[in-house]
Symmetry: C2
Subunit: 449 residues, 2 copies
């Protein structure tokens, strides 16, 4: 595979799993791979990157090559370039959080996950564009499949960079639908793991109980590999748990002992689905046949979208109070609107929302006794037009961010404009490995169908 | 093996590798194993423990059993009890550092390695006795092989607890010879990995450039497994490096592609070796035959023991200044003597010592192009009498602490009083996996000899 890619100068198409293996075995140098990715980025036509210094990337690549040649230990991502959403602190690159308020901000400490990436031998390629403070106001990043379309947000640059073959891997974050939605629009894999598996220390906190880090790649094993590397207990993040973590790569490579059972809920907000997305989703459900069971939605869950919004906006205003108060004029109008709404939410309303959330978590959890995964749309349809000024509707992601369950976007469908539409699989809490195994089964089943 | 152990009520003899596997596979519960270890500890006849609360240990064990039964992820040390030298901070157990100055001290933050252990599913069994501030003044711990003898120091309790089958695994530390020497006296495996592989954050700093954490176990694979779990990049420790780490368990299980080459230096201080230790070492060298090459020692290295002592005592006085000044009367006479000597060392003398050290590192490093390991004594002979008031001579360990090279004690010999004597193997920097592979070969070669 490496030789073939090398012949066609298509090294930037290599998967992370294949690239890491080729580098470890000395068939490919990290420098060659990183240079190929830099060439592919060129002048960044989709405006995916906010910070990219080829020298800093190449210095890391050469160091990984030197380590390998010296016979020292190599890591799981040895010499493989990874992009980081620009809300993740890096000492050696600015971290601007998508806002002029933090222009040229230089963190003194790397985020915890940056340490994990370096321990795995990854090359930190650069920083990818995030919407303003990882919330509503879009970047100028365009969708690599159609420059008139949005890549989705808030992890706009991370998704676009992976879709455009700039890097095989990127890290993003999701509070509402900021990993799954852009992955769906960009036609790649996106994964938001179980709450507490990846530490958020050193990442801009926008909502203490909803923020998750997540991963982007172009295939399932790459998603599993990157998530494994990031997955580690860190008491600096209160949501991080002091327990063993699932091995996602083993999950992605496992054969399910029996065919999995998958649940599908027709939530009230399913009327927001575009016709092509609905048709595609139904085709997937039909192809999986009796493995999918349609289930009724509990009435108590009808208000979950509002519950998520209440918690997100309330916590955002609390956590960002200093930034908001100190820099009101520097905020976008769209963010000001959100903040004004968030500040009108009372503590009682917030507490009520957290109570409903607990019910929702319970409701969802019990289904994983009978089912291996829940099937759901990832987004309402194809990517929205860039001119809309919006990054798309995260409605289909909010419940899974709220309940902290692992959620995966699989790029399965094509819409009426030939643009990608993803399908979401949701797993049981801390059973991210089982979700990977189920996803691998679904992929094989649909190939055979 | 588990069944056999279970029949004979000898669960406390299980290796960590076997125990973890049995627990993961549901053939053994962590609670049963931890209870068996608690029973074996009994009333702690060797005075190995400074803090041991059966309830705290059992709560962790039951939690690990619950996680496994719930089908959640299990870790590399799932449900396996581990002892920690009492200079390693723990939030849920006091950390007294072997001194009344720190009586009932309750750290607010766990040491970094405690997080790694918890992520691996280990049960933190309790805290084992350390010499005063991990330096010269002995504990009341006795050698499990002979209660009139010292277990060695400073990791006295960790070595004794593993030797007495209280726990399969323990963590200690080495600045001079505090892992290798007690392992030799107690007849177990002890390992001081390459400098920078294990973070010392949250561990009492006694000598910034010499302190290492190390591991104790009763077989090679257990040493490798525990060291792998602890091995992780942590910028909070300046010696910790941001690179991939060797996989020691793979090393311990690997077959050397060709028979390894081993170097042996007759250092000037070899005249301190007891007759039985010298005889045993020569027998090992003879048995390994042409695989061992005797090499001359560079003259520039003759003063290395003094160089180590200078750096250790100078740094101890610098790092402990506040404790020393604030609590002089609470220090032992033997420590006061060391401090008085350390305070007489000038900055110039210290700088000179660091210069010689750099030469020594270079001298040692170049040998690992031609040799897989260096063979050396671990200690001067059998454990010293408890009544001597000393923990034994660390002379054979100082050079490897000074040069930061990985050093392993293998319990190969028996002295004239039927007490264990170890042999040391030293590897190239950050080639701890190769050292494990060489050690496994040496063991097999000596079995066959």
């Amino acid at each position: 595979m490496v030789e073939a890619a090398s012949r066609t100068r298509d090294l930037h198409h290599l998967s992370a799993v294949d690239a890491a293996q080729a580098i470890r075995e000395g068939r490919l140098s990290s420098e060659t791979l990183v240079q190929a990715c830099l060439d592919q980025i060129g002048d960044d036509p989709f405006k995916a990157w906010v910070y990219l210094n080829p020298d800093i990337a190449l210095v890391q690549a050469r160091e990984m090559d030197r380590i390998r040649k010296a016979g020292k230990a190599t890591g799981a991502l040895h010499g493989v370039p990874v992009a980081l959403k620009d809300i993740i602190d890096t000492r050696f690159m600015p971290t601007e959080r998508g806002s002029s308020i933090f222009a040229d901000r230089k963190p003194e400490v790397d985020a915890y996950i940056v340490n994990r990436l370096r321990e795995a031998g990854a090359v930190i390629m650069g920083k990818t564009k995030t919407t303003e403070l990882a919330f509503v106001h879009p970047t100028d990043t365009t969708n690599p499949h159609d420059s008139t379309r949005s890549p989705g947000g808030s992890s706009s640059g991370s998704a676009a960079a992976v879709a455009a073959h700039h890097v095989p891997l990127a890290v993003g974050s999701q509070t509402g639908g900021s990993v799954i939605r852009p992955a769906s629009y960009c036609g790649i894999y996106g994964f938001k793991p179980s709450r507490g598996i990846i530490s958020r220390a050193g990442v801009l906190p926008t909502s203490e109980t909803l923020d998750h880090l997540g991963t982007f790649a172009r295939n399932l094993e790459d998603i599993a590999l990157l998530t494994n590397v990031l997955s580690s207990y860190d008491p600096a993040d209160e949501s991080s748990f002091a327990r063993p973590r699932p091995d996602l790569l083993t999950g992605a490579r496992a054969q399910a002992p029996v065919e999995p059972d998958i649940a599908f809920f027709e939530f009230p907000f399913h009327d927001r689905l575009a016709a092509d997305a609905r048709e595609g989703l139904n085709a997937v459900i039909d192809a999986l046949g009796p493995r999918v069971t349609r289930l009724p939605v509990s009435d108590s869950l009808s208000g979950l979208i509002e519950v998520h919004l209440t918690i997100h906006e309330y916590e955002f205003c609390q956590q960002m109070a200093e930034t908001i108060d100190g820099h009101w004029e520097a905020l976008s109008d769209s963010l000001k609107t959100v903040i004004t709404r968030g500040r009108a939410i009372t503590r009682d309303q917030y507490d009520d929302a957290q109570t409903v959330r607990a019910t929702a978590e319970e409701f969802c959890a019990k289904h994983f006794n009978d089912f291996d995964a829940i099937l759901a749309p990832s987004a309402t349809g194809e990517a929205p037009l860039f001119a809309s000024g919006e990054t798309g509707d995260p409605v289909f992601c909010r419940i899974w961010s709220l309940t902290g369950l692992p959620a995966l976007n699989i790029p399965l469908l094509v819409g009426e404009n030939d643009l990608p539409i993803g399908v979401q699989l949701i797993g049981g809490s801390e059973e991210d490995d089982r979700l990977m195994r189920t996803a691998a089964w679904v992929q094989r089943a649909l190939q055979d169908a």
